[in-house]
Symmetry: C2
Subunit: 449 residues, 2 copies
């Protein structure tokens, strides 16, 4: 297979040959987050070989971006001191993201070794749940006062730099606050470097900016960043006091993770699914999902069972019935996808819902007419039975339209029950269209044949 | 339904009542990109009412972020002069993204009205395909030379600002070039504002940075930004000469769009699907997908048709056969999701593929044993036939394992055929598991019953 990834193969071959020189060269060429993907794609033994080749800096990057279960494995298999060396390189907000996976002894040793400033930042972020603005923020927002000149700001920043030896990462703007730390505005660095130095901050600060409440959900934060094309945004408490700053790189991670989660969870997989987790525990988790689907499948079987006598009279029904059910599922899932996306984008209201139902039903009705005639003709030629063909066509039309109705209402009802329609919608819809499909086809047959 | 979106309802109600004051108030509260979502979620008539309430600034924002078909509709229904007013507010790279939807007369009028600098930037971006780094970049990278001091840089920027009256949006760093415009490094603004002014640029420029080749795909650009946590990156030609700069807000759009595309296309929907597109054209597009699925469904029906005689002897087979097929689909789709994600993340190589097959097959074999016994018992109690139970259980085990094998190889083969496995994988897999499911269950029954 030429499509498979060459570098991964080279690395795994080097491990097999125990060729440490090649291995080190290959690994030094990939970024920390690519290394994280590489480690995820390796068996537990190979993971530790790759991990053993990494310097503290790269290990820090890997710990940050590797998925949950694999991170836990790496942490459990690394001596405490080596672990601490890498953890020291992470930002306080990054540490707060991963420290659930760290043993208490490591956390304590890490906190004990922090200087006061770092400890304060770490504790401030830890205070908030990971999936809120507070959990995403960095508590090192550099702030200045409004009544000073640009020259004073430049002086202040130079002193700060001398003292701390580095600036907050990805600093694109300063926060402007009053003496009670209340946020007044934002001052982009591009203004500071391009305007005359005697201008006062108060005269140029952007007041038309987005401040994010500390308890906003991470989904909400992602939406604000995208709506306003932000690079960073201040985080405030309920009194509008500045608490920290969120940078867009953390938001990108949130967006990526959301898309990933939906994909995994809609297949009944854990978000943290590890490609090479122990077989027994994988089997247990997957078995759960198979069990749910077994129940829904038996539901459809039960519907068929109601019509055993009809099928006995005409075996062709058994041959054709999966076609009806599957077409309903397909038509429904197209509508389901549109509505699920509409819900995610806040696009569905009571008024346009009625219009949407009309639109979708019309689309599928037109299609239904065409395909109903087509399948009726096919069934007639296949089994030589005109009534069978007619029943087949009408059942198809019914299941297409109910599939679309299901595609609209199932996600709305699920959302009302606080179940993510992107995750559960498709299972519920398939159960629904299968049942309707078998019932309408076999039911019509019972009446007319 | 309490879950539906209140603001959308209020806006649609205001339109219905022709209450312009309320309508204007409501719309003034939402951002341009939210307004774009709102317009997408409205019928064509309501779209024009909302569009009519927007000022030039907001119209520019909407044009930028609305989906293709709806953008076309807005453009077609807006007088040329009003359109031009909004287009002038867009950046050259944003213009280049949307100008495929503009009539030639508007494009010509727009270019004629551009000043030289803007025209040059626009043409430079237009030169490259939309889905490459060249199409994403802004051609206004502010560059300085390496042999000057920070003080000179600050002076230069102040002169530039005076001349152009604004700085490039989202400026977080300057590019450093030699006299032939060859890229030497990057200089973050946070360094400029915090270091002593007598330091030379050459001494502090970041040489360890990511430059993006102008012909890199947008997917590749997105990966680099995420791997390196960048806010912006220089774009260079093959001689490493600076051409422009990509900012992360454009990359976020790419990431979001990719996730959206996959979701839409895996349901056979156009990426630009418009909720309220004309019914005939919607019906035509959806009909195509229904037709493909009809063919795959008839394939499964044909497999069942091979065994009509067996079903005639034992109708219970017709009742239970959808259970077998559906369980194979579920088990396969879990593996398919893991492998598809692995392919997207470059995680699948020849070496770990074998290990992955072993892992997945073991997981599903363990599950298969448990569920095979369960369904055998259920079938025995339901139909009182021990042989039927045994056949059912064994067929389930077979379809689960072949489902997993399909889940591994189908995405790999599709990718080799340059078909996105995230889009087509699930249709192919379902066809495969349905056929295998019916064949193994009915085939075993033909032998043993």
């Amino acid at each position: 297979m030429s499509q498979v990834n060459l570098r991964i193969d080279q690395i795994h071959e080097a491990i097999e040959r125990q060729d440490d020189v090649t291995l080190n060269n290959l690994i030094s060429e990939v970024s920390a987050s690519e290394t994280a993907r590489l480690i995820e794609a390796s068996t537990p033994e190979n993971r530790m070989v790759i991990w053993g080749c990494l310097d503290v800096q790269k290990r820090a990057g890997v710990l940050k971006s590797v998925h949950g279960k694999v991170r836990q494995y790496l942490i459990d298999n690394t001596p405490q001191n080596a672990l601490l060396d890498s953890l020291f390189l992470l930002q306080p907000d990054e540490l707060a993201d991963i420290d659930d996976d760290l043993p208490a002894t490591v956390i304590n040793a890490m906190i004990a070794a922090m200087d006061e400033l770092r400890k304060a930042r770490y504790n401030r972020v830890k205070h908030y749940p990971n999936n809120t603005a507070g959990g995403l923020m960095d508590a090192d927002a550099t702030a200045v006062r409004a009544d000073v000149s640009i020259l004073s700001v430049l002086r202040y920043l130079r002193i700060l730099r001398k003292k701390e030896d580095e600036m907050p990462r990805q600093l694109d703007s300063l926060m402007v606050v009053d003496r009670t730390n209340k946020l007044l505005g934002v001052l982009p660095l591009s203004e500071i470097v391009s305007l005359p130095t005697d201008i006062l901050v108060a005269d140029i600060l952007e007041q038309n900016f987005q401040a994010i409440p500390v308890d906003a959900s991470q989904e909400h934060v992602a939406r604000i960043f995208q709506d306003c094309d932000l690079l960073s945004a201040p985080v405030v408490d309920h009194n509008y006091r500045l608490l920290g700053r969120i940078t867009i790189d953390d938001v990108v991670d949130v967006i990526q993770q959301q898309a990933d989660n939906k994909m995994m969870r809609s297949a009944g997989l854990d978000t943290n699914t590890d490609m090479f987790s122990p077989i027994i525990s994988s089997a247990y988790k997957r078995g759960y999902w198979l069990g749910i689907n077994l129940i829904t499948a038996f539901l459809a079987a039960w519907v068929i069972g109601l019509f055993e006598a009809v099928i006995e009279q005409l075996i062709a029904l058994a041959v054709l019935m999966p076609v009806v059910a599957s077409m309903g599922g397909v038509a429904g899932s197209q509508t389901l996808t549109i509505v699920t996306r509409g819900i995610a984008l806040n696009q569905i209201g009571r008024k346009n819902l009625a219009q949407l139902i009309f639109h979708e039903a019309s689309v599928v009705f037109l299609n239904g007419l065409v395909w109903a005639v087509a399948v009726a003709v096919i069934a007639f030629y296949w089994f030589g039975d005109p009534i069978l063909g007619m029943v087949f066509g009408v059942a198809l039309l019914i299941v297409l339209i109910t599939g679309v109705i299901g595609g609209i209402f199932i996600p709305l009802v699920l959302q009302r029950m606080s179940i993510d329609p992107a995750v559960a919608g498709s299972v519920v819809l398939t159960t629904f269209t299968d049942a309707i499909g078998f019932f309408s086809f076999l039911g019509l047959a019972a009446i007319f044949i």
